[in-house]
Amino acid sequence: MTATVETATGQRRLTTAKAISEGIAQEMRVNPDVFVMGEDVGPYGGIFGSTGGLIDEFGPKRIIDTPISETGFIGAGIGAATEGMRPIVELMFVDFFGVAMDQIYNHMAKIHFESGGNVKVPMVLMTAVGGGYSDAAQHSQCLWATFAHMPGLKVVAPSNPHDAKGLMIAAIRDDNPVLFMFHKGVMGLPWMAKNPRSIGPVPEEAYEVPIGKAAVPHPGTDVTVVSVSMSVQHCLDVAESLEGKVSVEVLDLRTIAPLDREAILASVSKTGRLVIVDEDYRSFGLSGEVVATITDHDPRLLKVPVQRVAYPDVPVPYARGLEYAALPTRDKIEAAIMQAMKG
């Protein structure tokens, strides 16, 4: 409805939320084994709109509202997946992972390996991440590095509607468990401030965006800015604003695990300057792994200190001023780029 906008050229523009639910619907139409399960995914349509409208088309047998029992229903997703279904399970906020992490990690991620490849767990676990709207310490985190650290999972986090739809379809079709992390800020929700990039052109047909492949939405030659999810939108804003001054190459990882190391190396080999923008916690996370990707190969590719614009090692504070002091904002990204250019 309000989520669909026709552009002058007739190209359809969707919010990310709508793009995701459209991708799910298209796969559900062709594959009866796909179903959705989670809290408030039915009539409510998902707290962040990821399942909007699905209940009307597919009914409560395939769009299943669950009790608040994440271990129970994520485990049930695993059981269904091992018996040939392709469940899409929503964990309302990633911050709640701790009540169900054993299913996610010791089971969903490991069964395939433990079975010597004999059992497949083709399942999508989708979850909302990110802050910026004062939802405080238990409802605002990204935590992708937590999951990427643990072998067996694929982890994706789109930055725009086009990739969201394509990654969702790829995730559903993948024979592995895929953690699909959508940032609330990219969903294009009517009740949350948003970057215009959260609404964008989305092809009508079903298509895949390949898991494991980064994109270069803004090519450049002076400095590499590696980012993912919501922060990519800020990076693009900054890169555009610096056009003519600094030639910024923005790399949108799109997938966190497996990491597209070739793309990182290729860009840094060219620029020699690296800024990493990450809304997940700074230490023991994505930013370190991106750096190590370079130093495994050759630290001398790096001409200057690496700038890590990551969430500092502090729980997410409630007060807006504090939260924005922590978040990777445009001004911090720009300052980091300028610092990298100095060295």
């Binding site: 809290e39 408030d40 039915g42 009539p43 409510y44 707290i47 509202d65 669950t66 009790p67 608040i68 029992s69 994440e70 271990t71 129970g72 911050d95 709640f96 701790g98 009540v99 709207y133 004062s134 939802d135 405080a136 310490a137 238990q138 409802h139 009740w191 500092p312 090692d313 502090v314 729980p315 504070p317 409630y318 007060a319 807006r320 001023g321 504090l322 924005y324 002091a325 922590a326």
Partner: protein, 312 residues
Amino acid sequence: MRIRTYEATIQQHYHADKKPAWDIGAGLIPGEMHLAAGQEPVAVGLCANLRDDDAITAPHRPHHLALAKGVDMQAMTAEIYGRTTGLGKGRGGHMHLFDPSQHFSCSGIIAEGMPVAVGQAMAFRHKGLDSVAVGVAGEGAANQGAFYEAMNLASIWSLPVVFIVEDNDWAISVPRDSATPVKDGSVRASAFGMPGERVEGNDVERIYEACKRAVERARGGGGPTLLEVHTVRLWGHFEGDAQAYRGEELAEKQQQDPIALYEARLRADGLLDDAAVAEIAATAQAEVDAAIAFALASPEPSPADLLQYVYA
């Protein structure tokens, strides 16, 4: 007189809860806001049995419990406004209110306060105190594993804990019926060898009596109790929830505002009249206004202090 005091307290809380909601749009209170309108009888009926040294772990919908427990309204309001004078100096927010002086805490993760209450009770016993720990959760939360583990521990160790389920028939958009296969959730107590009781009617006096039994039992060394209290969620799950999923049930429930009903009863009994109601309302309003004024006059935390309080 006792009843009269309750009424005043209820009404205060009612306004205390309502008032912040209307301010959300202005942006002074950002973030999710879960208000407890309709559930005041649970808080009041419970807390009238509690002392300052008793503990409560509250869920994501905590204001009524906090105010009834005696948490300072100004410090709580300042926290909700994200100010340095707040309970958490602006770090916590409305789902994370901590008042050590009232042994009050809450969490945005449903049911996870239940095990914490068990540990508080362990500490009380270890220190030779007769304080009681109360864990509160919604009926939706009562399907979370943590809740059962906590009941089991409290029972096997015979700890002074009272488990309270606020059954308001809804968990966001999911009705109780489609999540909980038993009509009377208090039967779950028997799974852990403890007494359980369901209180119907959202009636502050009946709730008071049931809580009294449970609290006295815990305080006297008799071990834990599970109470399920049938209450009413008058408003949306959080502010901004249009409640399209509720249909006619909503209008019906809105006729069941416990404060209006109790007021009517007290009037009928001749215990309240227009003047008294007006006075109570005015007092409550003044207190709430003062709390909000306090919050607004308080400084916001400095971004330079971002890294404070990560470690003690």
